[in-house]
C-alpha cells in the first residue's frame, strides 16, 4: 500500500535529516571506534596474544581482531542514541504527532527503528572506509556480505533501545543506561578479546559473555566480513531481535510519561 511506504519514507527521511543536522553525532560515532582502533588497540596488541581462531585462517593483528567489535560498537551506541531521541521526542511532543497518525502503531515504530538502523549502518561503512585508509582491510566481498548482519544487529540493538526508552520516563535517567547497559554489554562480549581468552581468567565471565547477545552480533559481523556465516550467532541475533521487537511494540506506551505525571 502506497500510504505505508509513504509513512516509511517520511519517518526514515526525518531520521536522516535529523542525523545530517547533528554533525557532532556523526563525528562522535566515528571518533569513538577510531580511538579504540588506533590508540587502545596499539597498546593492547602487546598485552594480548591471539591464536588462530575461526573465521581467521592465519595470525591476525589485534587491530583486525577488534574491527567487528568496533563495528558493533557503532551499532550499539546508535541504538542507545535512538532510544535517547525517542525519550526526547516524547518529552518534546513530536511523538504525539507520530502516534496520532492513522497508521498502525507497530508500523510507525518499526519505520522509526529501521530508519535509525540504516543511519547506524551508514556510519559503520564510514568507519570501515577510514580503517581501510589505515591499512586495516577485510576481503573485498566481505564488505558486501556483512550488510545483512549489520542491518540485523542494528535492528536488535535498536529494538533494545526501544525497550529501554519505554522504561525511561525522563531524559535525565539516560545516564543510567550508559552505566548499566552499554558498558556491560560491550565489555562482557567478544568485542575486545576472544572468549577463550576470557575463559582463562574466569569460566563464569566466559559464560556471561557467551550469553550476551551483543557477543553474537560481533561474531555474526566477524564471520560475514570473512564471507562465512556463524549460524549460532545468526540464530541468537534473530531470536533476540524478534523477542526485543515484540516486547518493544507491546511495552512501548507513549502515554507512560503522561500517566506518571498524573499518577
Amino acid at each position: 500500500m502506497t500510504g505505508y511506504w509513504g509513512v516509511a519514507r517520511a519517518i526514515m527521511g526525518r531520521e536522516f535529516l535529523r542525523f545530517v543536522h547533528q554533525r557532532e553525532r556523526f563525528l562522535a560515532a566515528l571518533v569513538r571506534p577510531l580511538v579504540w582502533l588506533l590508540v587502545f588497540a596499539a597498546g593492547f596488541r602487546a598485552a594480548l596474544g591471539l591464536s588462530i581462531i575461526p573465521p581467521y585462517q592465519t595470525y591476525i593483528t589485534y587491530e583486525t581482531y577488534i574491527m567487528p567489535g568496533l563495528c558493533a560498537m557503532v551499532l550499539l551506541f546508535n541504538g542507545m542514541q535512538s532510544s535517547l531521541s525517542l525519550v526526547y521526542d516524547r518529552e518534546m511532543g513530536s511523538m504525539r504527532l507520530l502516534l496520532t497518525s492513522p497508521f498502525p502503531r507497530w508500523w510507525l515504530l518499526f519505520c522509526r527503528l529501521f530508519g535509525a538502523t540504516l543511519i547506524s549502518v551508514l556510519q559503520v561503512y564510514a568507519f570501515l572506509a577510514i580503517a581501510a585508509l589505515f591499512d586495516i582491510t577485510m576481503p573485498l566481498w566481505g564488505y558486501v556480505a556483512v550488510l545483512p548482519g549489520l542491518v540485523l544487529g542494528g535492528l536488535m540493538l535498536g529494538a533494545l533501545g526501544l525497550v529501554l526508552s519505554s522504561f525511561i520516563t525522563q531524559l535525565e535517567n539516560f545516564a543510567g543506561v550508559m552505566n548499566f547497559v552499554i558498558f556491560p554489554m560491550f565489555f562482557l562480549s567478544s568485542a575486545l578479546y576472544p572468549l577463550w581468552k576470557m575463559a582463562e581468567s574466569s569460566a563464569l565471565l566466559r559464560d556471561i559473555c557467551a550469553f550476551n547477545p551483543f557477543t553474537h552480533v560481533v561474531e555474526l559481523i566477524r564471520f560475514l566480513l570473512y564471507l562465512q556465516v556463524n549460524w549460532i550467532a545468526l540464530g541468537w541475533v534473530l531470536g533476540t531481535t524478534v523477542v526485543l521487537a515484540a516486547v518493544a511494540i507491546r511495552a512501548y506506551d507513549p502515554s507512560r510519561a503522561l500517566m506518571q505525571r498524573k499518577g
Binding site: T2, G3, G6, V7, R9, A10, I11, G13, R14, L17, R18, H21, M92, G93, S94, R96, L97, L98, L99, T100, S101, P102, F103, P104, L108, P254, S255, L258, M259, K262, G263
Partner: protein, 238 residues
C-alpha cells in the same frame, strides 16, 4: 448528525478518577469551547480523543467512526493542535508539512499545492522555506493550525492553543478558528481562559472530571459575566 460524539467516558490514573461519565456531542459547523480549571481533566480528555490514551469506559466517535473499533478512519477525520509544540525545529515549514502529510497517507501528487494553499489561508505562504526554529511563537502556532487542516479533517481539536502567545496572535488565532467553524468544521477548543469564549459559542464546562454545564454560553451565564460565573461554580482562578 453529530461529528464528535462522546458517551459515558471514564478514565482513572490508578486510584484517581480523572474523568467520569463524560457525555456530549457536537455537530458540523460549530465552535465548542471546553472550559475547565487546571486539573479538571481537559488534558486527559484530549489524550483520549487523540487515542494517546485508550478509554476503558465509554465511547468516542469522530465523523461517525468509532475510535476504538475503527481508529484509522476516526483519526483520519481528526485534526489536532496540541498544547505542547510538536514541530521539528530543524526542518523548514514545508518539510514539517510534508512529514505530517506522509504520516496521514496523503498522496505526493499535488501535495505542494495543497501545502501552499493551507499556509496561504493563514498568511504563512512566504514562510514555507524558513526553518521553524526561526519563527516566532505566533507563526509556529499558525503553522501548526495549517498543518492540522492539511488532511481536511471534519473535526478540529485544539488543546489550549493560545498558551504563551501575545494578545494579537491570540486574537488572530481565535478569530480564524471561529471562521473555520462558520465554514462547516466541528471545532473543540479547550481552554482555561474565559475571554476566549464568545457569547454565541457552545460551552462545555469540565470540573473535577465531570461535565458541569453544556449549552450556549449566553444561555448558561445569563447576565453574569462568564468569568464570574465560572469562578463561582468552580471556585478556581481562571
Amino acid at each position: 448528525m453529530a461529528e464528535l460524539e462522546v458517551r459515558d467516558l471514564g478514565f482513572r490514573y490508578g486510584a484517581k478518577q480523572a474523568l467520569e461519565g463524560v457525555t456530549f456531542s457536537r455537530p458540523a459547523g460549530s465552535f465548542c469551547a471546553l472550559l475547565g480549571p487546571n486539573g479538571a481533566g481537559k488534558s486527559t480528555l484530549v489524550a483520549l480523543l487523540t487515542r494517546l490514551l485508550v478509554a476503558p469506559e465509554g465511547q468516542i466517535a469522530i465523523a461517525g467512526q468509532d475510535l476504538q473499533q475503527a481508529p484509522r478512519r476516526a483519526l483520519a477525520n481528526l485534526g489536532v493542535v496540541f498544547q505542547q509544540p510538536t514541530l521539528d525545529l530543524n526542518l523548514t515549514v514545508r518539510q514539517n508539512m510534508r512529514y505530517f502529510a506522509a504520516l496521514h497517507g496523503l498522496p505526493r501528487k499535488g501535495l505542494d499545492a495543497r501545502i501552499d494553499a493551507a499556509l496561504d489561508r493563514l498568511n504563512m505562504a512566504e514562510r514555507a522555506a524558513e526553518r521553524v526554529a526561526n519563527l516566532n511563537g505566533g507563526h509556529r502556532r499558525r503553522m501548526e493550525l495549517a498543518r492540522a487542516l492539511l488532511h481536511r479533517p471534519r473535526v478540529l481539536l485544539l488543546d489550549e492553543p493560545t498558551v504563551g502567545l501575545d494578545a494579537a496572535s491570540r486574537s488572530a488565532i481565535v478569530g480564524h478558528v471561529h471562521d473555520l467553524a462558520d465554514e462547516g468544521l466541528c471545532v473543540l477548543w479547550t481552554t482555561h481562559l474565559t475571554d476566549e469564549v464568545r457569547a454565541g459559542d457552545h460551552l462545555l464546562v469540565l470540573h473535577e472530571g465531570r461535565i458541569l454545564a453544556d449549552g450556549v454560553t449566553r444561555d448558561i451565564c445569563g447576565q453574569t459575566p462568564l468569568l464570574d460565573w465560572f469562578l463561582d461554580r468552580t471556585g478556581a482562578a481562571a
